[in-house]
């Protein structure tokens, strides 16, 4: 257990939510059924499917869509913002847009919905998991990519292409980009030597490249209708893999782990599971060189292992590293919160509540419209959060609760 940084207080309360949230694409039967899903033990607070129900029942889908399902007048929350959002950043995005949402609702005579904390935790689980899904690919792009990335110099696709690599149609039934990257990763060293021999540049995959390739290959295969999907992944297993395969020797997650390799919780890493896996591929030559230099054996992955690992890393990304209480206190003043939220002020004192992003989001909807109205009357601007500020604020607010609160960490 490293002790260099203590995880924020609110993490302890949402630990259970974390594990299940991330088994995010675990789709249990609805609460009506008591059966558990395939293998593993999944526990259920913060369930993505319930969050999806909230998304539709509370009326979010009237304006917003997710991956095309829902309303058209507001952004598709699975696609926008384009980058990765942790739960804290989800809250910040929601917070920043709240006034414009409420204004629109007022014009349409729709009353803003109310949320329990459970509702909001579910909603967050849903948004987080649906944002990590890859879009189906465009086969026309995929065909161009196969040529542009020079895959066909070695690989065959049925009748066309080179002969030294396997026929890509073998993987035509694999629908998940993570599966493809796993297969490619395992063969990367062999591919790398062949490519250097032929003077072919290491192909980099960005955006929706891998799903595009998959979509194209799938159409060529006569057996395309028998798909192979990936099953829900197990982040606990993924955590083990992260340690056992040696990833932790170089990669840090937040401030835990090795240095010399990118922090896998960096906000700049891509949003979807497939893109994240593809990033691994993109760095494969660099990683190979580093591993050889440090005498670390290059890990191989099964389909399931790769999925579990990526799921674990995404689980980690749901949370932010601990905030800074002092910074938070300053923000509380600078943003104007302290003007009302103080003893004797018009707003509640906020000192006996322990916060988490989902709890704050629930309060945002439950109390926010009244708060906003009050602020408008007093000509106070609605505060907006920059990336990173929310965590500090929450850390500060949580620190003001009863001092005997346990601050247990995850490790």
């Amino acid at each position: 257990m490293t002790a260099t940084a203590r995880p924020p207080a609110w993490r302890a309360t949402t630990l259970a939510a974390l594990v299940s949230v991330l088994v995010a694409w675990v789709l249990l039967c609805p609460a009506l059924q008591a059966q558990s899903a395939a293998g593993g033990s999944y526990f259920v607070p913060g369930e993505p499917k319930l969050g999806m129900r909230a998304f539709f029942d509370k009326g979010c889908a009237r304006c917003h869509s997710v991956l095309g399902e829902g309303g058209r007048s507001a952004p598709d929350l699975a696609r926008a913002p384009a980058g990765h959002l942790s739960s804290a950043e989800l809250l910040a995005a929601m917070w920043n847009h709240a006034p414009s949402m409420w204004e629109k609702m007022r014009i349409e005579s729709v009353s803003p919905p109310k949320f329990t904390e459970g509702d909001m935790a579910n909603l967050f689980a849903f948004l987080y998991s649906v944002r990590s899904l890859d879009e189906p690919g465009d086969p026309a792009r995929g065909r161009r990519l196969l040529e542009d990335k020079h895959c066909l110099q070695c690989h065959r696709t049925g009748a066309t292409g080179g002969g030294s690599g396997p026929d890509l149609l073998k993987w035509a039934s694999y629908r998940n980009p993570v599966s493809w990257v796993q297969a490619m990763w395992n063969h990367a060293p062999a591919m790398q030597s062949r490519m250097t021999a032929r003077g072919v540049q290491w192909p980099l995959f960005e955006g929706n490249d891998v799903p595009d390739l998959i979509a194209y290959i799938r159409l060529l295969s006569p057996n395309a209708s028998k798909p192979t999907y990936l099953r829900p992944a197990d982040p606990q297993a993924g955590r083990r893999i992260f340690r056992e395969k040696g990833c932790a020797s170089c990669h840090a997650i937040g401030s835990n782990g090795g240095s010399g390799a990118p922090d896998l919780r960096s906000r700049t890493l891509p949003r979807t599971l497939g893109q994240f896996a593809a990033a691994m591929w993109n760095h494969a030559p660099g990683m190979r060189a580093s591993m050889q230099a440090q005498n670390i054996p290059r890990p191989q992955f099964t389909n399931k292992e790769m999925a579990d690992l990526i799921a674990y890393l995404f689980a980690e990304r749901y949370f932010e590293p601990a905030g800074n209480v002092a910074r938070g206190a300053r923000l509380f003043d600078d943003k104007g919160c302290a003007a009302c939220h103080r003893p004797g002020g018009i707003g509640p004192e906020l000192s006996h509540v322990s916060f988490s992003p989902s709890r704050m989001a629930a309060s945002l909807w439950n109390h926010g419209p009244v708060m906003f109205q009050s602020m408008q009357q007093q000509q106070i601007t609605w505060p907006r959060f920059q990336p990173g500020e929310v965590v500090d604020l929450i850390e500060f607010l949580s620190s003001r609760t009863a001092p005997t609160r346990a601050k247990g960490g995850r490790r």
């Binding site: 059966q35 899904l133 993570v178 159409l219």
Partner: protein, 797 residues
């Protein structure tokens, strides 16, 4: 003291304030008591604890999911299953009325054998053992005598696993003759065979279409999966979804679908092909068609030369020369600017889909018209994308090897059910020794029902599986009563026009009320007693076991989902689209239990753009110019010219075209088009009083056939509203009550389908069966039926 007197006398007493009433006087409570005493009817109402069960409706091929309310052991209400993805809790009136079938007074009680003759049947109730024993004996005899191939099974159209069981039975027994009654989708299926090279059922993603051109398809009156279509219709009109989808109904008559459509285009009967090709002309000449799709995925759009260098006409040239707007307007009676406007609207509101053509559920339309209509889908680029024409996905685990006889099976007797009577009567290519009718009534339901009547008399051994005695089973030797939907295991596959692989299974909801069986159970019992290869091919104790085994195949596919809520459907689909699958089951046993509980399993995601699956023509593309048709035409030309070399064929026979319509004669000046109403769709339902009451609502008609006739036409022929008339064609005549209807085209009259049985429930034996007088042409090239109406005369009875 009580005495009998009626309410009128009581009123006199009460108002007069007279004394002497038996009960307590004129207080309100007194009134209630008195009324209760007067109402001496004792109606026994079922009591018991309430429970709910899942089932599937079998009154049409739609197969909607049901939730059945039970009081004790009795079913008292049928509602929709909200988890079933096809109907999502909605039902059409047939589904609701299905309860009357369970308790029907005219149901068969036990197996019966005909102790009289075919002309004078005398029915004697027997046991199932005796019935099955008789059948086994006959079939064994046939097989031992080397005549296994002469067993023919005629099934009604159905999805699910029962067709597969029958084919497996026949394959193991040694007969290739599994036939299905015709359906109204046959013409469109033929078009798909010719233009796309596929035999899978066609499907339409109507819910996502933005513009729907329907050529005579009775979308709201029982076509396809009726409730699924109605849900799509509701989505088209849902203000919250943004844009409204336009429905254009093209047909001569003002049907309910035409009434509910955004636009009704009243064209001359039988000219659908011309109109479709006129719209094609407009799309091409205005450059509004999807050039990319046409270039990449079609064949025969431009003129072309074959391997021998021979020139062949292409679709574009055909349309540009023969289907110009004014020509089409003259043929169809539709103004040229309407045709142009429809083309522009379709092109501007994509995805746009064209459906048709069609007559009724048992009268397919014209395959060349269907090809013309489907060509519009190719021009608009609406094939295999959301909102367009799809191809039904196969159920996983379906292995069709077991449905074919080992080695080289004998050739099939006929290719379609319509040809069966001629084959029987002529004994060519071989005679039929045994005929099994599986819930099929060809004497009533087919145009050549009279031929079937004659043919059935010539078949030595006829067995009919049916819940009610009907026109065909009257001519059987054995009648085996089948269970109604709620009394037995039900299974359905995807309904017509739905693309997703689907298997709905539900256990019996109530105990069978009579000595009845599911046809699958009967066949499995037969297989057991036949022994040998047949028993080995079907080693299942009962139909439940058969269904259970098929679910293993579904489990092995490791895809799809058990029926769940709308939200779960959306979730499952999003996940599969992105490559993930998170099922609610981990073993086949769990899947089976969940399927029984929630209604079934299905594949919520459709894989778009799998061109290798969607186009299986020789060119691998959509063929405006059908090479399959060219081959058929060449064969037919060769057969016509004895000993000739490859005869020249007319290119137009291989392209969509307007067929020549039979001419009217002065003797038969009117045109009869049979129409289908939702409550009696498929010609089924006349035995249910709730449905009889609502069929004909647009005319406030019920219980009897009517003849719809335009007021001017009626006046011309001296017919008054409500008069009984004869409707006579060259084939014969039937009687109906004339009803003036503004929605009938002048010169065109309509009789509804579903009435006029000769045998069965008395409720269904009212009115007239229009199929008895319908004339059907036959296409010389393909032998397919061409239906464009029947010429009749109408006169007072």
């Amino acid at each position: 003291m009580t005495f009998e007197f009626d309410r009128r006398s009581f009123l006199k007493f009460a108002l007069g304030g007279a004394a002497g009433t038996a009960a307590s006087g004129v207080s309100l409570k007194g009134l209630s008591d008195l009324n209760a005493a007067l109402a001496n009817e004792q109606v026994r109402v079922p009591t018991g604890p309430e429970s709910w069960a899942t089932s599937v409706c079998t009154l049409c091929p739609g197969g909607c999911g049901l939730r059945v309310r039970l009081i004790g052991q009795r079913a008292v209400k049928i509602q929709g299953n909200p988890l079933h993805p096809v109907n999502r809790g909605g039902l059409c009136p047939k589904g609701v009325a299905g309860l009357q079938e369970l308790y029907h007074p005219d149901r068969l009680h036990k197996p019966m054998r005909n102790a009289g003759s075919r002309d004078n049947p005398r029915w004697k109730e027997i046991s199932w053992e005796e019935a099955l024993g008789t059948i086994t004996g006959r079939l064994r005899g046939l097989r031992d005598g080397g005549e296994a191939r002469s067993l023919v099974v005629l099934d009604r159209p159905r999805s699910g696993l029962l067709p597969r069981l029958q084919r497996q039975f026949l394959a193991a027994y040694g007969s290739p003759n599994y036939l299905v009654m015709p359906t109204g989708m046959d013409a469109v299926q033929a078009a798909l065979r010719f233009q796309q090279g596929i035999t899978e059922p066609v499907a339409y993603d109507l819910a996502n279409s933005r513009y729907v051109l329907s050529f005579g398809v009775n979308l709201l009156e029982g076509w396809g999966a009726p409730v699924a279509v109605m849900r799509a219709f509701a989505r088209w009109r849902d203000v919250a979804s943004g844009r409204r989808t336009k429905l254009v109904q093209v047909e001569p008559r003002f049907s309910i679908t035409a009434a509910r459509a955004d636009e009704w285009v009243a064209l001359r009967p039988g000219t659908d092909a011309a109109l479709a090709l006129g719209i094609a002309y407009a799309l091409i000449s205005e450059g509004l068609y999807d050039a990319d799709f046409v270039r990449e995925h079609t064949f025969g759009f431009e003129d072309w030369r074959d391997a021998e260098g021979e020139f062949h006409l292409g679709f574009k040239s055909l349309v540009n020369s023969e289907y110009r707007l004014n020509d089409v307007s003259a043929i169809t009676g539709v103004p040229a600017d309407t045709i142009l406007r429809l083309a522009r609207e379709a092109a501007q509101n994509r995805p746009a889909v064209a459906l048709g053509d069609r007559q009724t559920s048992s009268l397919p339309g014209n395959p060349y018209a269907a090809m013309a209509v489907h060509s519009l889908n190719a021009l608009l680029g609406s094939i295999d994308l959301p909102g367009g024409v799809l191809v039904q996905q196969a159920l996983p685990g379906s292995n069709s090897d077991s449905e074919r006889s080992p080695g080289s099976p004998p050739p099939a007797l006929v290719l379609s059910a319509g040809e069966l009577p001629q084959a029987i009567l002529s004994r060519r290519p071989y005679g039929v020794q045994a005929l099994l009718l599986n819930q099929a009534d060809p004497v009533f339901s087919m145009v050549n029902g009279d031929e079937f009547r004659r043919a059935l008399r010539e078949v030595p051994f006829v067995v009919s599986l049916t819940a009610f005695l009907d026109d065909s089973s009257q001519l059987a030797d054995l009648v085996l009563p089948t269970a109604t939907a709620l009394e037995s295991w039900q299974d359905t596959g995807p309904p017509p026009a739905v693309a997703n692989a689907l298997l709905a299974i539900s256990p019996p909801v109530v105990r069978a009320r009579k000595d009845v069986r599911h046809p699958g159970d009967a066949l499995l019992a037969l297989a057991r007693s036949l022994g040998d290869k047949v028993a080995a091919a079907l080693p299942f104790a009962n139909y439940e076991a058969y269904l259970r085994r098929q679910v293993d195949g579904v489990f092995a596919a490791q895809a799809g989902a058990v029926f769940g809520s709308n939200l779960e459907e959306t979730w499952d689909r999003l996940m599969e689209r992105s490559g993930w699958w998170a099922p609610s089951y981990s073993t086949s046993e769990q899947l089976w239990e969940q399927v029984k509980q929630q209604g079934g399993w299905w594949e919520p995601a459709y894989s778009y753009g799998e061109w290798a699956r969607v186009f299986r023509t020789s060119s691998g593309r959509f063929e405006f110019y059908s090479q399959a048709l060219a081959q058929a035409a060449r064969q037919q030309a060769r057969a016509a010219h004895t000993g000739g070399s490859a005869a020249r064929i007319d290119d137009r026979a291989c392209l969509p075209h307007q067929t020549v319509l039979p001419e009217t004669s002065s003797n038969f000046p009117l045109l009869l088009l049979v129409v289908e109403q939702l409550p009696l769709s498929g010609g089924q339902g006349a035995h249910l009083p709730y449905l009889q009451q609502i069929a004909g609502e647009h005319l406030f008609a019920s219980w009897d056939s009517w003849l719809e006739i335009h007021p001017e036409t009626a006046h011309q022929f001296g017919i008054e509203d409500g008069a009984m008339v004869w409707v006579e064609s060259r084939r014969g005549r039937v009687q109906a009550r004339a009803r003036i209807y503004e929605g009938a085209r002048p010169g065109v009259v309509h009789l509804p389908l579903g009435y006029g049985r000769a045998t069965g429930s008395p409720w269904a034996c009212r009115g007239a069966n229009p199929l008895q007088i319908v004339e059907q042409q036959s296409d010389p090239v393909t032998g397919m039926p061409l239906n464009s109406g029947t010429h009749v005369k109408v006169y007072r009875a």
